[in-house]
Symmetry: C2
Subunit: 227 residues, 2 copies
Amino acid sequence: MARLPLYLRTLVEVQAEQTATISSERLAELAGVNAAKVRKDLSYLGSYGTRGVGYDVEYLLFQMSRELGLTKDWPVAIVGVGNLGAALANYGGFGDRGFPVAALVDADRSKVGTRLGEHVIRHVDDLPELVAELGIAIGIIATPAAGAQDVADRLVAAGVPSILNFAPTVLTVPPEASLRKVDLALELQILSFYRQRDSVADAVEAVEAADGVAARGTAPEAPEPVV
Amino acid sequence: MARLPLYLRTLVEVQAEQTATISSERLAELAGVNAAKVRKDLSYLGSYGTRGVGYDVEYLLFQMSRELGLTKDWPVAIVGVGNLGAALANYGGFGDRGFPVAALVDADRSKVGTRLGEHVIRHVDDLPELVAELGIAIGIIATPAAGAQDVADRLVAAGVPSILNFAPTVLTVPPEASLRKVDLALELQILSFYRQRDSVADAVEAVEAADGVAARGTAPEAPEPVV
DNA sequence: CTCTGTGAACTCTTTCACAGCA
DNA sequence: TGCTGTGAAAGAGTTCACAGAG
């Protein structure tokens, strides 16, 4: 369940406030979902709640961390040290959450050998050694779109099982590798899409109210409510 | 449908290759989904395909842009000019896709007045004027977690209808505002979660194969391998 | 009496499969 | 004939609602 990390983060915040126990309802409110969903999700981990009381925050955190594979660290390599790569490297949140940045890699020889924070930038050709030496578990692609597929291929070839892609392009990897993408502009498009949808929906409602037609979706070429 | 931006991006790439027409199958392959899904999604825009031929790339792009509200620009304000904010500001992809970065804002007075690229950093107190002057449609929050809710409140108060949150915390906004969050470490957690799930599933399968038990989900209180 | 854990109903999404148009 | 557009079936995910533990 992809919501587990969200609960985890919420629980960490809750724990900081000395809260020993939390109800599904409270957790749902903090995480921005509904209580039934929380209970269903958590029941999948096992029966860790106490009826009439709620969930023990610390114990739940422990079980969730275990389930998420966070009891051990997963070293990360960032490939592409441009603006975004540098921002990710400096972003403290990864190490705190069990994903230490273990290597910075770039294809640009003029960057190789320079420092960024505690790391010396290495060349992308060194990936196989870096993976073997540092136990890289996750590769983050922060290169321009053009080079991203090549980097993905190299990561897979070097034995990195999981890839997070920030380059704005669709990548393909063999089935044994996991791939997720983050498209920053896409998030903006989704936002404006929902805005657009809402105003279109409003307009449609206004029309329907005016002439009593119940149309769902769109009105293509046909001069009638399609189908 | 949240996949429309993905199709849009794919179509732009296809168009660059002088392809005038595209079948649902080809588009599906490039976008990494299946053909039936593509046809269902696109049919929702209207009947813009030609049977036996496919979709006209340019016309489809036009219709999708229209639907996504991309025929006009949506100026963006980035709040929080740390590493991430600076990376986002320098990330060319936003402007290209109809989201020009119109303002950089920070709460740190020592940053206010300094330049970053073509922009002078403004103080967060100036948000209302900036929104009014520049027609800011989307606010991007790239501050530390602690200040994020305050920034969200200020953005909403200033009349910004859509917010994209990069701070690792759950925000609440009134229902008239749209909110999306991007949690970078969360993406990593999801990746390692699926890894973990797969290996757990493999282990469970091995156990089932060994003793013929068909167990779905978890084994709760029982005095056995915890969960 | 509170709050979990979970069947059952419901809703939304995905996939199938094919009629029908170019 | 090739490929779209779309009902209908299948599957996921969500919500309801309540039995029962503490």
